[in-house]
């Protein structure tokens, strides 16, 4: 399928959102609010629950379904306090020794005045640093849009999985077309050039798995089991081994001549 069609599917309304994934994958969920510094960011839902019976910390970017929900969730574009809440809960997970599961679905971190004033860049940078050496397993699933640094701030993980109709890009195809070619109509060409759909990313070694999504019920049935199995495998390692592997996972990313 054409890359741009895939990107459009990833944004389609009616698609399960982060909170839908939390509700289908995790039982006994208790949401926790706030970054303890400024505010609670509704674009990120986070809390504790159980995955196949075992306690887990879950963090999800949430876009909302109705217009009212979408406005409340800022269309899934987090502010710095969202990333700081996520980090707070990751550190809490580390303290209590439970794994972290993240669901990514954002067109990007919010690009507004408040976000800048409160250090959007710093908030993302801190997550990248802290997640790299977090002592508990981290697994991130891309369920829709994976917009640049705003997605990566929840994706410095031991494994990254993607739904079939998700994307993960350095810039939105619209942004790319308008910056590079000063022509927003070249969005199709940009979508192809960015190589941001799951098959490309698997081939480039940037993700581990693609999850088929044609049968939604099957996905709700199998996903918790598959996640739980992967967490078991990750927990079989010592935290030192796991952190070393996590760093090595990113360390090898990059193509150049020498």
């Amino acid at each position: 399928m054409e890359a741009y069609k895939r990107i459009q599917l990833s944004r389609k309304s009616g698609r399960p959102t982060g909170l839908d994934f939390v509700n289908h994958v995790v039982t006994d969920f208790f949401e926790m609010h706030g970054d303890r510094r400024f505010a609670d960011d509704p674009a990120i839902v986070a809390g504790v629950g159980r995955l196949c019976g075992k306690p887990i910390t879950v963090i999800a970017q949430e876009k909302g379904h109705t217009m009212k929900e979408r406005t409340f969730r800022n269309f899934g574009s987090p502010h710095p306090e969202g990333y700081r809440k996520a980090l707070r809960l990751m550190k809490q997970a580390e303290k209590f020794g439970r794994p972290v599961l993240c669901f990514v679905d954002t067109s990007g971190a919010f690009c507004g005045t408040g976000a800048e004033e409160r250090g959007q860049g710093l908030a993302i940078a801190e997550n990248l640093c802290e997640m790299m050496t977090l002592k508990v397993p981290i697994l991130t699933v891309f369920i829709g849009e994976g917009g640049s640094g705003g997605a990566l701030a929840l994706a410095v993980a031991d494994q990254v999985w993607m739904l079939e109709n998700a994307y993960y890009a350095v810039i939105s195809p619209e942004g790319c077309a308008s910056i590079l070619w000063k022509d927003s109509k070249k969005v199709r060409e940009a979508s192809d050039s960015l190589r941001c759909v799951p098959e490309d990313l698997l081939e480039l070694g940037l993700i581990e798995r693609i999850l088929p999504e044609s049968d939604q019920d099957a996905l709700w049935r199998t996903l918790p089991l598959e996640l739980s199995e992967e967490f078991d495998a990750l927990e079989a390692m010592t935290s030192e081994e796991r952190c070393a592997k996590r760093y090595a996972r990113f360390r090898k990313m990059g193509v150049f001549k020498e």
């Binding site: 976000a115 860049g121 640094g149 993960y168 890009a169 350095v170 990313m253």
Partner: protein, 291 residues
């Protein structure tokens, strides 16, 4: 070795022809053209380009900091003949066959006379040893692709091994979109290397220069123990135009400037070019571990 004799004045003829354009998210501010005179964006006065260049690339009238070529900046900061360049052989490739990237790389190399937008190595400042890097606006606006990510990562890994503090002059329009998601991953890779350097108890000082935005701001630029900036530098995650489009309003003057960030609590200090060497040496000495 860095020697001033090795540096010829930069020729911006490709830029004037419109061949080399920024590959990153944001428009370039007025570059210094290869002309006798330059209009200062700070005070609006017309100044002699040679006077500006002789004055650490600052306006002789108001002190406006023009974009400093990375190698010239390093030369002014480091002790004479102390700079040993690392990882000079790394070259970017157009591995995604991204439209126009191969040509852009070629013109960036010609335009900047550098192999990439970051120069890294080891040096001494007033006798204090450190690992050091600087980024160059003339190479695709300091955008970060695989080579920048790899050079920064190697610098921090080697600094960790040799137990050296790191000093970094950042300048970037963001992640390099022509290398797709792989560019984005450089943010995580460099952050990991910074974290291990930090966990080893070693010092990292960043000096943010105009402009530092996008993926570089959201990774190694903001991860220093001490965050300094040049006066007037634009520092942000999103570029001003993107914010204006999102908010549908004009930004107030000075929004995202170094002075604004200092007031909001995101910088330790603003250090103009004539004081940088002294301040960096002082901070290095204050963190020196006596044997």
């Amino acid at each position: 070795m860095l020697k001033s004799a090795n540096f010829k004045p930069s020729r911006n003829q490709l830029e004037n022809m419109g061949v080399a354009t920024a590959g990153s998210g944001f428009t370039e501010q007025p570059q210094v053209p290869d002309q006798l005179c330059t209009k200062c964006p700070g005070c609006g006065k017309t100044i002699f380009t040679s006077d500006m260049r002789a004055n650490l690339w600052m306006c002789p009238s108001c002190g406006y900091h023009f974009k400093y070529p990375a190698r010239k900046h390093l030369l002014k900061i480091c002790d004479e003949n102390s700079f040993e360049e690392w990882d000079t052989g790394l070259r970017s490739t157009d591995f995604l066959h991204f439209p126009g990237y191969a040509v852009k790389l070629k013109s960036a190399r010609l335009n900047s006379r550098e192999n990439e937008s970051v120069i890294s190595g080891k040096a001494a400042i007033e006798g204090e040893p450190c690992a050091i890097f600087a980024m160059d606006s003339r190479f695709m606006m300091g955008s970060m692709g695989s080579v920048v990510g790899e050079k920064i990562t190697r610098l921090f890994e080697r600094a960790t091994e040799e137990r050296l503090p790191v000093i970094g002059f950042t300048l970037s329009g963001g992640a390099r979109m022509q290398e797709g998601t792989t560019s984005l991953m450089q943010m995580a890779k460099t952050s990991g290397a910074v974290k291990y350097h930090s966990d080893a108890g070693l010092l990292y000082i960043t000096v943010l220069t105009n402009p530092t935005t996008g993926g570089v701001t959201a990774s190694f630029a903001m991860e220093g123990d001490i965050l300094l900036s040049e006066p007037g530098a634009l520092i942000g995650f999103a570029g001003p135009r993107v914010i204006e489009q999102t908010m549908r309003q004009k930004l107030p003057k000075g929004f995202q400037s170094a002075e604004f960030l200092l007031e909001k609590g995101f910088l330790d200090g603003i250090v103009p070019r004539p004081e940088q060497r002294k301040v960096l040496a002082q901070l290095l000495r204050l963190h020196r571990k006596e044997a």
